[in-house]
Amino acid sequence: MARRPDPDPETASQTAGPYVHIGCLPSVAGFHAVFDGDLGASPIIEGAKGDVITVEGKIFDGYGDPLLDGMIETWQADAKGLYAGQAGADPKVPGFGRRATDAETGAFSFRTIRPGAAKGQAPHIAFWIVARGINIGLLTRLYFPEDNHSDDPILSRIETAERAKTLIAAKIGDAAYRFDIRLQGDGETVFLDM
């Protein structure tokens, strides 16, 4: 066997800082004329197949205060569990979303379709969180409370039910979910390295 060359190290991460909106969500920073809109404004395009849902939440720090300067990115499959770029995926589901946490309340919310189950996994939406004070982006997932999670490769690896619960959204309406993320302390969200 030939020896594989050692891979190069990944470039080091640095915090996104408090002004991340300028680069990633310029309209939130008050820039309306530089680019033609913000990227990730919606994970779906009108006509996407599937059930429309809304997701709202906040991100809490170790004091229990909501982050007012954070950014979340979401990545999800279409109603059949296929991701944009995969053969047969719904062209109306780009699948990528971006939101700032509100500068006064810390709340975020978005409208999307409920993703289907990707092969071998329960339906979920991936979340990536950056903010001032976060040295490297934090990856986690939202799962839905009404699904069977017993075969999901991630939820089944979490050792305590109490911890696994941190990845399951609360149903707050017919098609509405709340997903709060706790960076530290009681109810600390499970973050993923994968």
């Binding site: 990944e10 080091a12 990545w75 960076l183």
Partner: protein, 241 residues
């Protein structure tokens, strides 16, 4: 992008979540260990951004805030480099977004109260897609250093924030680029969150006179490496090599 799963992220070359000298990290860092698992299709796929989203001035921060009407103030610099993965392969068609302070060290943002004035001709955001060989370029002005409330007389070195997409959501990375020769780099607790000096050195862009333009601008080179894929072996060679 096809092929194997993502290479596990080497946390030894990345900053820890908790780095107390950078004070805000104390309350924003998880205390439990990360759950480490092999990547799945969720992390191995990612958003695709087409050329239709990119305007002609998007990578020109000297001109884009006024859409070419007036030039931003400051030392004109070209920042360029190559985006590759850990296997050394170019990452083409990748979205790079940057943001930065103006020449006086002030951000155009409601939360920045530093008294250095805003430049009416400078916004501070840019974006581009890498070309077929993974190369990118931005025209901008060198941002100023600025004070911040991390401790007494704390200053950030001159820096440009970089946000990077590969082909996979699991390659997502945000970092900061510094400028060769800036003595504030060694004093910065955000930089010092990186545990490996070689990794810090890789965030420092080098003066590149080969791309400087006489009577116009200087140039700095900044190459970036994203996570790679496990390579499947084919006849004792990594596939595609």
């Amino acid at each position: 992008m096809t092929g194997g799963g993502l290479l596990p992220r080497d946390r030894a070359v990345q900053p820890a979540a908790l780095t107390p000298e950078y004070k805000t990290s104390v309350t924003r860092s998880p205390r439990s260990p990360l759950l480490t698992l092999d990547s799945t299709v969720t992390e191995e796929t990612g958003p695709v951004f087409g050329h239709d989203i990119i305007g002609p001035l998007d990578n020109d921060l000297i001109n884009n805030f006024t859409q070419g009407a007036s030039l931003a103030n400051g030392e004109r610099v070209l920042i360029h480099g190559r985006l590759s993965d850990q296997n050394g392969r170019a990452v083409p068609g990748a979205l790079i977004e940057i943001w930065q302070a103006n020449a006086g060290g002030r951000y155009r943002h409601a939360n920045d109260s530093y008294f250095a004035p805003l430049d009416p001709n400078f916004g501070g955001c840019g974006r581009t897609l890498t070309d077929d060989d993974g190369n990118y370029r931005f025209m901008t002005i060198r941002p100023g250093a600025y004070p911040w409330p991390n401790g007494p007389n704390a200053w950030r070195p001159m820096h440009v924030h970089f946000s990077l997409f590969g082909a996979a959501f699991g390659q997502r990375l945000i970092t900061q680029m510094y400028f060769e020769g800036d003595p504030l780099i060694d004093l910065c607790p955000i930089v010092a969150a990186i545990p490996d000096q070689r990794q810090i050195d890789r965030l420092v862009a080098h003066l590149d006179m080969s791309q400087a333009q006489s009577m116009d601008h200087l140039a700095y080179r900044f190459d970036i490496t994203l996570r790679g894929r496990n390579q499947t072996m084919f006849e004792n060679r990594p596939e595609g090599m």
